[in-house]
């Protein structure tokens, strides 16, 4: 087992009392898989990813990578955050190199490595641009290149395309699939977008809200992955099933609040 999450619980103490955000999360992700966690806003997706990243400690349960328990953040896991996290004073090249610099990689090596991953994400011409001169989609591609440059064991992504328009998003999906096939990297991605999850992942964990629990695990078997597949019946079946599931949870959650 590559990434193993076992019996993970996470509670927060707030002014209103104890808030159970994640309950009973158990997941296994194998090497080279592309797995999505799908859930509505507030279902605890970012919280889950933060436990895997080691930026936060679970209340109980554990996360292991290649059998080793995660106790803190580290470059063996590449992280792409929900919000833009490029360093605004560094140009694109320096941003991409920065992880390698922190890890003490010699200048020449890290320059070539960063250039390579910038070409992978198609941003070679923008190497000298500052982040504020980039569009949202380009910023996320730099963030992906920056995470990939250290060649992590797994790429963790928190709704990386959530802020993009439909067409840019579609282009980023094709880009992600292409990248995944070429680099064979393990990807764990978080999203609230059902079509995105079905199109990209081999497996989906659908999360319910309040508290966040795994409602369903679903293996996706699409005959091929390009945008035409989105018009096929099998794609619609997956999508509709997940949509129904999420709608039902949404209504339950609303009823629970009311």
């Amino acid at each position: 087992m590559f990434l193993q999450i076992k019996d993970l619980h996470k509670n927060f103490w707030t002014r209103q009392g104890e808030l159970v955000v994640l309950k009973n999360i158990t997941m296994d992700i194998h090497q080279g898989e592309f797995v999505c966690a799908l859930g509505a806003s507030g279902s605890g997706k970012s919280t889950l990813l933060r436990q895997i990243a080691g930026l936060d400690q679970p209340t109980s349960g554990e996360v292991r990578i290649e059998g080793r328990r995660i106790v803190g953040p580290g470059p063996d896991r590449g992280m792409v955050f929900q919000h833009y996290t490029l360093y605004p004073w560094m140009n694109v090249q320096a941003n991409t190199e920065f992880g390698l610099k922190l890890q003490g990689v010699p200048r020449q090596v890290r320059r070539e490595q960063a250039s390579y991953y910038l070409s992978v994400v198609g941003l070679t011409q923008f190497a000298r641009a500052l982040p504020r001169e980039l569009s949202g989609g380009m910023k996320q591609r730099v963030a992906i290149a920056r995470a990939l440059a250290s060649e992590p064991k797994i790429l963790l992504m928190d709704e990386p395309f959530g802020a993009l328009d439909v067409h840019t998003k579609e282009a980023m999906h094709e880009f992600m699939l292409d990248l995944w096939q070429r680099t064979k990297i393990t990807v764990f991605m978080i999203t609230h977008d059902v079509e995105e999850a079905v199109f990209l992942s081999g497996r989906i964990y659908a999360l319910g809200s309040r508290p966040g629990t795994i409602r369903k695990e679903m293996v996706i078997n699409l005959p091929h992955r390009d945008h035409t597949v989105k018009r096929q019946a099998i794609f619609h079946d997956y999508r509709d099933e997940l949509m129904d599931l999420m709608r039902k949870h949404g209504q339950e959650a609303l009823a629970a609040v009311a």
Partner: protein, 280 residues
């Protein structure tokens, strides 16, 4: 849908009319802006000139622009003005440099570590509200009337404010930027030196710009009270002998130097922090 009130019948329709002069948070045309700048400079000068020319004012009370220029030339020729300016600038330079040198790292540490903040913030917050000029008698008592009490006064006046202002800029570093650095393999030390520090450089420059203005005022106050040279000293001597024109010369020089220091810091900010220029 039935809301409890027929809101549309209760609210007045409003439109926002286009305007040039009263635009909120927008630029005005450059011709208008240069006209307004010119007016703001010329209006007080012309008023001053008109009052002294047509108003039968005693020059001991309000000298005319010509008299002030003459006094300026006189002071300049004799070398007094330069000597006093250098004396004041030197005190500010030394006191401010020491204060900045120590307060910047302390402010960064206070902003970064809640522990250091808890240790120092109560004391600094209290000291900040003790007006620095009120320390002058104590400083004279402890340090005499040489350069030390004046430099120390500037240090006290700048140090606490600057530490707290630098601390505040550090708090604006997004948490996610720090976490992203951890995920890229950075240690806490790396994060402090290579992420937090560059991120707060514009804020530090700005804090220093504001506190240098305070230092410049303090040196004049200190010299007014006890000094043998300096622009403040010259003002107090000129006041004693009713040389009002010399007071005006010194005030104008003080203002110009302050303005130049401010512009210098603004230029420094623009040239070193191009990435931040859109934020301000």
């Amino acid at each position: 849908m039935n809301s409890p009130h027929p809101i549309q019948s209760l609210v007045k329709p409003r439109v926002i009319k286009p305007t040039v002069f009263w635009r909120l948070a927008e630029d005005i045309p450059s011709t208008l802006s240069s006209t307004l700048i010119l007016v703001s400079v010329l209006f007080p000068l012309v008023t001053w000139w008109a009052i002294t020319t047509f108003g039968q004012v005693d020059p001991k009370f309000l000298p005319s622009p010509q008299q002030v220029i003459e006094a300026g030339v006189r002071l300049g020729r004799s070398g007094d003005l330069l000597r006093d300016t250098v004396a004041s600038l030197w005190r500010v330079g030394v006191g401010f440099a020491w204060a900045a040198l120590i307060s910047i790292p302390i402010g960064v540490l206070m902003g970064s570590f809640a522990s250091i903040r808890a240790l120092l913030e109560p004391l600094f917050g209290l000291m900040r509200y003790m007006p620095a000029p009120a320390f002058i008698p104590l400083l004279i008592l402890y340090l005499g009337i040489g350069e030390e009490p004046k430099i120390t006064l500037i240090f006290i006046g700048v140090f606490f404010f600057n530490s707290l202002m630098v601390m505040d800029t550090v708090k604006f570093v997004p948490k996610e930027l720090i976490e992203a650095t951890y995920m890229l393999g950075g240690t806490r030390w790396d994060t402090l030196g290579q992420v937090i520090l560059p991120h707060v450089v514009p804020g530090i420059i700005d804090a220093c710009r504001i506190n240098l203005a305070a230092a410049w005022q303090l040196v004049i106050v200190a010299e007014l009270i006890a000094a043998t040279d300096g622009l403040g000293r010259r003002i107090s001597v000129a006041g004693r002998f009713l040389r009002t024109d010399e007071i005006f010369v010194c005030l104008i020089v003080i203002g110009m130097i302050g303005l130049l220091m401010d512009l210098g810091f603004q230029a420094l900010l623009r040239s070193t922090c191009r990435w931040a220029s859109q934020r301000r």
